[in-house]
Symmetry: C2
Subunit: 353 residues, 2 copies
């Protein structure tokens, strides 16, 4: 009997159907730059006008084992928002505006319904970011992924005027740190969160926990809460503050101490964060108490409720908070830039008093 | 006992060491556009000057189950070339020049040596493409990948002058098809090739097959042969042919019949390919004979020795072949553009006579 590609485990029909279902989702994200119906092999996007020295800004990321929560709950239509957020929030940190996004979705045998839900989330994320979903790949890798599992990678491109790049060189002693609230764990630390809550404490994903505050909210919903996309927030900050915006930091893997020093290149400066300046969300208390997980490990693994930090001139704090609130975020004065010697050897002091 | 991130299966030290080893590999690919040492969260690349209406061209891809051949042979330092090739060759089809590339490398627990070898291949591919390796993500997903396995996704961005985009509208009846040799299977059809050669025929990867021609060449080496990157070839064609270059087609998943019609939007035109115009490489004979795999299935699954097809004005064939040979490729007159009715319902006729 002759052997066919389908015999080898590759279901071209399912792949084609998924591609057909994705097309209108991507079309709905089109922005002015997209050159549609050209270039069947690649996506085309016109460099926007009005820049003297346009610089492209690009980042790639995945969503880590937050995927496992999507697999376990069967809720697949928001993990794509996380994917866009993780890539776009990185791109935003230099003051850039997102232009477009591409996604890579890999599974053993594609489940058309799941794949469509995932890409619907990606498209929703692109709309929140103001980025066009310019392309994507649905990879079929028989035998490499367990049934019902998949991996996701994302890729974002933005643009910024060269003279307006936020490189942290404007940061000065006495600048303020403005914190922007996260929506929960975002997409970091899930291996630890899952180990503590689901494995060791053996909590069910449909359990409700007193620490979560909302009595009707399940643990699964709290763990799947999509990562916030700060595109509108950053556009608002850039417009409102101009040169009084000195740096932006995405609080991703490594938490506040692992990320904040990255945006302050002057090694004579440090960052003093007042952890008592905001209420820590309940999900972090749930993880810390049930592990237990020590405070230093919590700080190095999770965002602890802060998704983005802006370093701004001290007199710009009210304008920064107002711009962020106008963009739909919660924001507050989180701390200040201090001499490095006051912030310890890693240039970050997290104060709990 | 308190629980740490490391207890949860995430080895931050191994991840950090891999990132340290990757940094010099990426640095070695830097081109003039890269803004180094700025933007710790994202890569920055200045839009090159000299364009009136610059258009960005972007594509994403993986390498499919060619990965499984890398796992089985333990040879990990060329699969990254395949990754770059699959993305960049798509971008080239509109006549674009590659600018930069990003990679996503995901495994359960990172093997630093394997990860470094993979990214060394990515960097080698970037050099062949003239693209800077602008960023990347090494994702650690405990429990999602089998030990020793990993997945790879790539993202490429190129640039083209808007008025010079190859959109296939210049294709005319009587144009010639110029074939450019592939180096083997490239990165398509591996699920079928592995099923036939490794599972059903139970051949060893260190076996030598008479069909491969070279008596010292193992099956594993033949299956791992890196995908050709056609960046120099396309740059040479664009420069030599100008407006006599009408379309470019990357022969990827779906083979010649699945890809060629995509670059000829005029539905009154078809493509006639003379399969006897070149010797089919031995690896394809090995697969067809040992499956057996029927000729139509071979045609729809594999590139059959043709990695790229240029549609050119008939009088430009000698110049096209000369430009491609000067870029180090083998090229020949593969066929012609004919009326669609002469090419059958799918507008592609593959003639074996």
């Amino acid at each position: 009997m002759p052997v066919s590609y389908k015999d080898a485990g590759v279901d071209i029909d399912a792949g084609d159907e998924l591609v057909d279902r994705i097309a209108p989702l991507a079309r709905a994200t089109r922005t002015a730059g997209v050159l549609a119906d050209v270039g069947g092999f690649a996506g085309l996007f016109a460099v926007p006008g009005g820049y003297t020295e346009p610089v492209l800004v690009s980042g790639t990321d995945g969503v880590g084992t937050k995927l496992k929560v999507a697999f376990a709950t069967g809720v697949h239509d928001t993990i794509g928002i996380d994917l866009v957020a993780m890539c776009v929030n990185d791109v935003l940190t230099v003051g850039a505006r997102p232009l477009f996004f591409l996604d890579y979705f890999a599974s053993g045998t594609p489940d058309v319904g799941v794949g469509e839900a995932v890409v619907r989330g990606v498209a929703d994320g692109c709309k929140l970011a103001g980025a066009a979903l310019l392309g994507g790949e649905t990879a079929e890798l028989p035998g490499m992924y367990a049934p019902g599992e998949y991996d996701l990678a994302g890729f974002a491109v933005g643009i910024v005027e060269r003279s307006r790049i936020l490189d942290g060189r404007a940061v000065r002693k006495g600048d303020a740190l403005v914190g922007v609230a996260s929506s929960g764990l975002h997409s970091n630390g899930y291996s630890l969160a899952r180990r503590v809550l689901l494995d060791d404490a053996a909590l069910a994903l449909d359990a409700t926990l007193p620490e979560l505050g909302d009595p009707g909210r399940t643990l699964g919903a709290a763990l799947l809460e999509p990562t916030r996309i700060y595109a509108r927030a950053v556009a608002g900050l850039v417009a409102a503050l101009g040169e009084r915006l000195h740096a932006l930091c995405h609080i991703t893997g490594g938490g506040l101490p692992g990320n904040l020093p990255r945006v302050v290149p002057d090694e004579s400066l440090g960052l003093a964060v007042e952890l008592a300046s905001y209420p820590r969300p309940g999900i972090f208390h749930a993880i810390a108490a049930r592990g237990p997980v020590e405070e230093t490990e919590m700080q190095r693994t999770f965002n602890l409720g802060v998704g983005l930090v802006a370093v701004v001139a001290e007199d710009a704090v009210p304008a920064a908070v107002a711009a962020l609130e106008a963009a739909g975020e919660r924001a507050w004065r989180l701390g200040a830039i201090v001499p490095a010697r006051e912030a310890g050897p890693e240039r970050v002091a997290l104060r709990r008093a």
